[in-house]
Symmetry: C3
Subunit: 128 residues, 3 copies
């Protein structure tokens, strides 16, 4: 079930391969014992229009929201967040060394009872 | 007030008319007794960069989030989710028959007291 | 920490400068005593595919979601929402005078304990 959405300011696109970031984040999540690979969907959404802080032209951001089924322990959530944030921090290291970047991650729970899903990848991977 | 956002991996775009999907989902919601047509806003957001499960090149997803005013009964929420998911399942049937697709829907409530709105469509439709 | 995301139907793009809107919203937030300028990230996401209400071709929307750290008072949240909604209402005034537009804003809280961040803009602005 995990969904991870990365929103980013368009001005970082020339310097980073966002598809590669999605892949790294997907691998980091599926390396944890608590998330099945078949359910992981990571994507990045480019934000063409943005305004960050004092509007310095180098200002940029990447903001991640992870949505998971409700009910996991605080430890599991912390481990997932730590793992993802470490990957993203390494990926954006050149920006984090300069004074114009904001990186963030939030975990949100999907409420039980108001969620629907069909996944044809799970059976393929489980059979594999 | 209902907002429905569909995020989808860019690799399904050649095979599906996402505007048609938005229209079908909008019609399904407004056919229910609990949602006024004038307040319904459905949209789809293309995700150019993504990583799904084991990274098989055919892997794709469509993920829907419906936001509605808090306070509706569990029955109303279930009916809305069932109706939307049925439409989306029919729309993506060719993908759901193959082992590379994940379809999902979540309903989230908008908290009372921290919501603002102006809608000039309602009066037009109510007068019509 | 404040994140403000504006989703909008693509049909308003020819008539509005969405980057200018982001800048105005960012300025409005940072003019309040409760939000530090260095943490503000506003962006707009274009929705190419959409269906609004009765599908009249002029129908359009702009929908804002503000995410802030949990724990602020109802008064602070109301002041922030009022300020942002006033800016957006003025910006979209020509549309709000016509019977085809829906404008909305929701405030959501980021749960303590499941949030990670690094911000290299704060120290620069605090030193400035």
């Amino acid at each position: 079930m995990p969904h991870l959405v990365v929103q980013y300011s368009a001005n970082i696109e020339p310097d980073f391969d966002l598809t590669a970031l999605c892949r790294q984040l997907c691998d980091a999540l599926s390396a944890l014992p608590d998330f099945e690979r078949g359910g992981i969907r990571v994507r990045a959404v480019r934000c063409e229009h943005f305004a960050v802080a004092d509007d310095a032209s180098d200002n940029a951001f990447a903001d991640m929201v992870l949505r998971i089924a409700a009910g996991r322990s605080a430890e599991v959530k912390k481990a997932a967040g730590d793992a993802l944030f470490e990957v993203a921090s390494a990926f954006f290291a050149p920006r984090l060394d300069a004074p114009h970047f904001a990186l963030s991650l939030e975990i949100r729970e999907i409420m039980p009872g108001t969620s629907w899903k069909k996944n044809t990848i799970h059976p393929r991977l489980q059979a594999g």
